[in-house]
């Protein structure tokens, strides 16, 4: 009787990939954008990133500790939340704001709903929107003077998107190439499309994300902007389109925040629908809305649509659901 069969339920084969490893990869992939942000906006950007990450992890630990739950800071998800939150803030904000934002993101949005995997919206973005609604003035104040290079001052105060919104395309103070490189004003992590794309490539190589959501997002956004240009009598204008693509938080949102596992549909069809919703909503918010930026609100809104999208796109099991003969 010493040769008992070991019986266990599936899964029997496990991948090496774990939650903490995925989160570590996301942190690594965010490093180019972070480093560029620090280089662009100076020491203060580094300080904000540190404060945000440390306070996120601290709030996660505190919540687990006081609610007598298993400690979850080792899964690195709080680090990702803190880092994303910091990258979504301008470098000029006071240091208590990242702390407040991460408290809201970690405790209210993530832990009160049941922790990682249960949160109904992206914690970092929810934290950002919380701050955005509460302190609109400070969160859109991009006046920074101590970049390591000093070039940034030329466009102090207005992001390219805000300029685009205010005087249409004619402003032209920021060439598209500069926007692609990140030579502009904006939040710490969003300015450089190049740095974000490097990070996205890292994620794609390690198969942390796939192309479905980002491409449908950016694609449907471009289609909507092109249609808008054609129908508003502006005529096709490549510069306008690329300014919208590389300006603001679209790249950061599409590659790093719309692809968050927890708040994305799991069905393939659902992901495509989700990406299209994101693109159209972002474009609507940017072109017709009150503020220049619409990425974070679009993503949060679509996060809430995810259960509905999953319900209508659930695949039909083989042998079920066909027409009755």
């Amino acid at each position: 009787m010493d040769q008992m069969l070991h019986v266990s339920s599936n899964p029997h084969v496990r991948d090496k990939m774990s939650t903490s490893r995925i989160m570590q990869l996301v942190v690594i992939a965010l490093l180019p954008a972070s480093v560029f942000g620090i280089w662009n906006f100076g020491f203060r950007a580094l300080l904000i990133i540190l404060v945000s990450v440390v306070s996120s992890v601290a709030f996660e630990w505190l919540y687990d500790h006081f609610m007598h739950k298993q400690n979850t800071i080792t899964d690195y998800s709080a680090v990702v939340t803190g880092l994303l939150l910091a990258l979504n803030m301008p470098a000029s904000i006071p240091l208590w704001m990242p702390v407040l934002g991460s408290a809201f993101a970690i405790i209210v949005v993530k832990q009160l709903f049941g922790g990682l995997g249960q949160n109904i919206m992206n914690p970092a973005l929810a934290g950002r929107c919380f701050l955005m609604i509460s302190f609109a003035g400070k969160m859109t104040d991009f006046a920074v003077s101590d970049g390591f290079r000093g070039v940034v001052d030329s466009v102090t105060g207005a992001t390219p998107l805000a300029a685009l919104k205010d005087h249409g395309f004619t402003d032209g103070s920021v060439p598209v190439w500069d926007m692609f490189l990140g030579n502009t004003q904006g939040t710490i992590g969003e300015t450089s499309a190049l740095a974000i794309l490097i990070g996205a490539v890292i994620l794609l190589i390690f198969k942390v994300i796939d192309l479905k959501v980002p491409l449908t997002y950016i694609g449907s956004f471009s289609v909507f902007v092109i249609l808008y240009m054609l129908f508003s009598g502006m005529g096709f204008d490549g510069n306008y389109l690329f300014s919208h693509l590389f300006g603001g938080g679209l790249m950061l949102g599409a590659w790093f925040m719309a692809t968050d596992y927890v708040t994305t549909p799991i069905t393939v069809k659902g992901q495509l629908v989700y990406g299209c919703c994101l693109g159209v909503l972002t474009a609507v918010f940017r072109l017709f809305g009150g503020s220049a930026e619409g990425v974070s609100y679009a993503i949060i809104f679509c996060n809430l649509l995810v259960p509905l999208i999953e319900r209508v796109t659930r695949p039909i099991a083989f042998g079920k659901g066909g027409k009755k003969a």
Binding site: L100, S134, F135
Partner: protein, 236 residues
């Protein structure tokens, strides 16, 4: 305290069946007008007056109102009192009338008032019904004043319109409180309501676990008909 005695009715409305935090009734005024503590007090007291009066009237009429048309009958009674109170407010406290605005006529369909008419006043004698109305009204006033106070402090640094937290002034280089505007806006109402409900649940649950039932010290011992699952007797 006997069931249906005036004191029991008052404590029932304020603590045990607090309309906002326990019954979760009357959410529209709770969420909409609690941007300041003053608004909370005004709305609460207005509702309390109407609630007490309509409870009394419906209880007096309870044997004359046919069962099939009781809802329209209740609405007529409540609407009459709302009209009276609305005109009085407009005449004597115009500032409160302006700040509550649309929500005064909407008291007609306030679910606390209809709920108490349906579940209590239409089945019980006038005096307990009157005190039920006052108790529920006080519970409502207390709750929405708390919500309004928290929202006002966090969202503007004020309490009852007085600046209690000095505001920051970047131009003068003064360090102070930075108003968290979201608490004055709609989302803040939901946050504060949820947190205060959770807090009072925590408090009640803790007391019940220690064996003291704070809300129901004398229930007559008839556990079979009682729905309070937190009660010590119920848990054996």
């Amino acid at each position: 305290m006997n069931a249906n005695s005036p004191m029991e009715r008052l404590s029932n409305g304020i603590i045990k069946e607090n309309p906002t935090f326990v019954l979760m009734l009357g959410m529209c005024p709770t969420l909409a007008v609690t941007t300041s503590a003053t608004n909370g007090v005004g709305m609460g007291l207005t509702t309390m007056v109407i609630l007490a009066a309509s409870n009394l009237m419906i209880s007096l009429l309870r044997n004359f109102i046919p069962d099939r048309v009781r809802m329209p009958a209740f609405i007529v009674v409540v609407a009459s009192f709302v009209t009276i109170v609305q005109l009085l407010l407009e005449g004597f406290i115009p500032s409160l009338y302006d700040s509550l605005g649309l929500y005064i006529p909407l008291i007609v369909v306030n679910c606390i008032i209809l709920g108490r008419a349906e579940s209590y006043a239409s089945k019980n004698p006038p005096v307990p019904s009157l005190f039920d109305g006052i108790g529920m009204g006080l519970g409502f006033t207390l709750s929405i004043t708390c919500i309004g106070a928290v929202r006002e402090i966090l969202g503007a640094g004020q309490l009852f319109g007085k600046q209690i937290l000095p505001l920051a002034d970047a131009a003068a280089g003064k360090i102070g409180f930075e108003p968290i505007t979201i608490f004055i806006l709609a989302p803040g109402a939901f946050f504060v309501l949820a947190f205060l409900s959770a807090l009072q649940n925590k408090f009640k649950l803790g007391a019940a676990k220690r064996g003291i039932d704070p809300s129901n010290p004398d229930c007559g011992g008839s556990c079979a008909s009682c729905g309070n699952s937190m009660c010590k007797g119920k848990r054996g």
